[in-house]
């Protein structure tokens, strides 16, 4: 019995993986993600300079062999800062998405499973959060809590939670009254087991897709917040704050603004491609 179950899961996973690999765009996205991961983990090894090393005598040097992306207004190597920036972006992106998913799943599960008053209250709360534009909400939360990575993760995470709540709630609503749930309850399964072992695995697919795309949005939000001045403060190299600091030099030193921007763009592009490919691969309608 156990063997069959494992085999079924493995072959399902295999099928999804093969479908994913057939999609060239998704593969491209995966490659970008792996490069990003590699850069963040091995930043200390890859980056030729320390991201905070200032050299006031060599400010605003164009791209060259010694400085691939040039130097910024304090003589720091832009290439190294972009690589370290990958680490920050990934940390904030992943953490905020995990936080959002965690909050969203719990709220959605409670809301969908217990229904009635609980459902109403939670869904109205989600509506309120959704009624405020995402960026403004993040800005308000960031202004209240202050700067710093932790507060940034909170600000972005809280704003994204409603999306996950809705997915989980919809999934639970559609499965709640099915017979296998009744069967589980009759053999003594409690609510917790039912929610987490039986229902959630079914909405795993849309959640994963949402999370992948969520990382992209989180990175964009981080950059946006840092650009305004809320979020990661100098000298930590974050792509958005590098853009913000460099925007007044755009006429004389185009490279200060171009490379961090390209980094953001390629990362988000890759994440989106991967997320879309994942969605297609996990689409149950394509199972045949």
């Amino acid at each position: 019995m156990k063997m069959q179950k494992t085999n079924r899961k493995a072959s399902q996973f295999g099928r999804i993986l093969s479908r994913l690999c057939q999609n060239k765009a998704a593969v491209f996205g995966m490659v970008i993600l792996l490069v990003l991961l590699f850069c963040s983990i091995f930043a200390g090894v890859i980056a030729p300079y320390d991201y905070a090393a200032q050299d006031l005598a060599s400010r605003f040097q164009g791209p060259s062999l010694s400085h691939f992306f040039g130097t910024d207004n304090l003589g720091r190597d832009i290439f190294s800062r972009v690589i370290y920036g990958a680490r920050i972006s990934l940390i904030v992106g992943l953490s905020s998405v995990c936080l959002a998913a965690f909050l969203g799943i719990i709220l959605g599960a409670l809301s969908g499973y217990y229904g009635n008053v609980c459902d109403n209250i939670i869904m109205r709360a989600m509506d309120i959060l959704l009624a405020i534009p995402n960026l403004l909400l993040a800005i308000s939360i960031a202004a209240t809590l202050g700067n710093g990575i932790g507060n940034l993760i909170l600000a972005i995470g809280i704003g994204s939670a409603p999306g996950y709540a809705r997915i989980v709630r919809a999934s639970i609503l559609s499965l709640k009254d099915q017979e296998f749930i009744e069967a589980t309850r009759s053999v003594g399964g409690n609510d917790f087991q039912i929610i987490f072992h039986h229902i959630l695995p079914n909405c795993l697919a849309p959640i994963i897709v949402q999370m992948t795309l969520g990382v992209a949005t989180a990175i964009l939000s981080t950059a946006s917040l840092s650009f305004i001045g809320l979020g990661i403060a100098p000298p930590t190299p974050e792509w958005g704050s590098m853009l913000s600091a460099g925007r007044q030099f755009i006429r004389d030193a185009w490279y200060v603004v171009t490379f961090p921007g390209l980094a953001i763009m390629i990362t988000i592009f890759g994440l989106n491609m991967f997320g879309d490919g994942l969605r297609d691969a996990l689409d149950p309608k394509l199972k045949n």
Partner: protein, 517 residues
């Protein structure tokens, strides 16, 4: 098919309606339609187009503390006295003045001045303006030394201006942008809110329209008592992006641009059709070391911190090579400035001093600043230089509102700060070092208060100068801050502009500008 067409038509109609009503309704609040703004570029070659770095919240001289507002107010209002290029006090609305006693100055006013609404300017308006300045939120701090209860209109054209203590800086203060004279009847009949949008003054220009978010248009006052300005209109536009301001100037979209970024100024100097005009200012940039902080009360430590900074490199990197390195705690353009010997840069000596101060293994400090690109760059450089001698500094950049709150509460250990003595008077420049001042410095040295009190009350110019020289020497030796530089005011003007003069307080007089064809 019909349904789709219907649907598409409906949506298109909705979108077009929104766009259309946006066009007619948008961009006007006090008269000028959006066509007014666009016509400026094609308008009479007689309109001076000026670009500011932000929009004033209102034009009431007593209600705001922003430089951009004063730049506009400079054209709308007159003051009792004014300063010429050499910094000497000249008559403006007042023809003559005498000091009656220690606390009171008597001014004789011109009798031929009318406000923009036709009413005559009398001593009652002067009294009203100063009394209002003493109680209004935005101007109260500046006018703290003035005594509203003893301001008197002796007759229609004679007025007594009173101060609480003997105050030598009176004329300098009244000559600053803060000394504007308002029209009493207009303020009372229009109410504060409306007055702030379309103020009535007696200056060379009056407010024609204010299109929120777009522009403020001033038109020439043909009943002006003084020399009539050459340009019939001035259009002020607001562009917050520094790079965009420079672009506007280069593409011919503006005639004068206030507040250019350093790198833009460097590039524009060698650009055709455009000039960069810079002049001395009253600003002083510094890194303050909280005087009430236990750690920083150690004099040797402060000396070490100052010796560890290569100030000329710092200034050159952030403000450019043409900016003057600070040689005192107040700008060289402020009256009674005394030049102090430059601080030496010696990291090895700094390390020794640090050890002598009791920190052979270094220490941790916290730098806080209100977000600003120059301040950020400075903080990072200072952090880097202190790291060389073993001092680890953390940087926290926050919004202005949060920073002000923390600074005033004494929670900022090291701050990147700027002070601007708009009146050009040493009392104005050094008042941040008084123990009663509320800011990041948290001054608590009674000797400074002694010096400043003596200087403020001393009417003899020579004696006053000596007092301030001693005061500056004292401050300089005490290393209460890392003195950085005196930034200039920098303007970009097109070649068509003639007669433009820099003003150290950042409020140039545009009435003298002529647009060549």
């Amino acid at each position: 098919m019909k349904k789709t067409v219907k649907l598409a038509a409906l949506t298109l109609a909705a979108v077009l309606t929104l766009t259309a009503c946006g066009t007619t309704g948008g961009g006007s609040s006090a008269g000028a339609s959006s066509a007014g703004g666009s016509s400026a570029n094609a308008a009479s070659a007689d309109t001076l187009r000026v670009v500011l770095n932000s929009e004033p919240s209102d034009l009431d001289p007593h209600k705001n503390t922003r430089l951009t507002a004063w730049a506009v107010q400079e054209e709308i209002f007159d003051k009792l006295v004014t300063k010429d290029e050499e910094g000497n006090i000249q008559p403006d609305l007042a023809t003559s003045w005498t000091q009656i006693d220690d606390h009171t100055w008597q001014f004789k006013l011109r009798d031929d001045v009318t406000f923009h609404d036709g009413s005559k300017l009398t001593a009652a308006d002067v009294v009203f303006s100063f009394q209002r300045a003493c109680s209004a939120a935005g101007s109260k701090t500046f006018f703290v030394q003035f005594d509203p209860d003893n301001m008197k209109a002796v007759d229609d054209y004679t007025v007594n201006v009173a101060t609480k203590q003997p105050f030598a800086a009176v004329l300098n203060y009244l000559a600053s942008a803060r000394g504007a004279i308002l029209c009493k009847s207009a303020v009372e009949s229009m109410g504060d809110e409306a007055y702030g949008r379309a103020p009535i003054g007696s200056g060379p220009y009056k407010v024609e329209s204010w299109s929120t978010g777009n522009s403020i248009i001033l038109t020439r006052n043909d009943n002006y008592w003084g020399d009539k300005p050459a340009c019939s209109k001035i259009e002020f536009r607001f562009i917050t992006e520094a790079a965009n301001r420079a672009i506007e100037l280069e593409t011919g979209g503006a005639d004068i641009v206030y507040s250019l970024a350093t790198n833009d100024a460097d590039r524009l100097e060698s650009t055709e059709g455009v000039q960069v005009v810079s002049g001395p200012a009253y600003q002083f940039v510094y890194v303050s070391l909280n005087m009430s902080d236990k750690t920083l009360q150690n004099e040797k430590l402060r000396e070490a911190l100052v010796t560890a900074i290569d100030i000329p490199s710092l200034v050159s990197a952030v403000y450019g090579p043409n900016t003057k390195v600070a040689d005192s705690y107040m700008s060289s353009n402020v009256a009674m400035h005394a030049s102090m010997p430059a601080k030496t840069y010696d990291p090895a000596k700094a390390k020794e001093l640090l050890a002598e101060a009791g920190y052979p293994n270094g220490l941790n400090l916290s730098i806080k600043l209100a977000e600003d690109s120059n301040a950020s760059a400075m903080a990072e450089i200072v952090q880097g230089m202190w790291a060389e001698i073993g001092v680890t500094a953390s940087i926290e950049s926050m919004e202005q509102a949060t920073y002000l709150e923390q600074a005033n509460a004494g929670q900022v250990q090291v701050a990147i700060a700027t002070t601007n003595a708009v009146s050009g008077d040493p009392e104005n420049a050094l008042m941040i070092w008084r123990s009663t001042a509320v800011n990041a410095i948290q001054a608590c040295d009674p000797k400074i208060d002694e010096y400043l009190d003596a200087g403020a009350a001393e009417f003899d110019a020579t004696k006053r100068e000596a007092i301030y020289k001693e005061a500056q020497q004292y401050l300089w030796d005490k290393d209460y801050c890392v003195p950085v530089c005196f930034p200039n005011v920098v303007y970009g003007i097109s070649d068509k502009v003639e007669g433009f003069q820099c003003h150290p307080g950042s409020t140039p007089d545009l009435a003298k500008v002529v647009l060549a064809q």
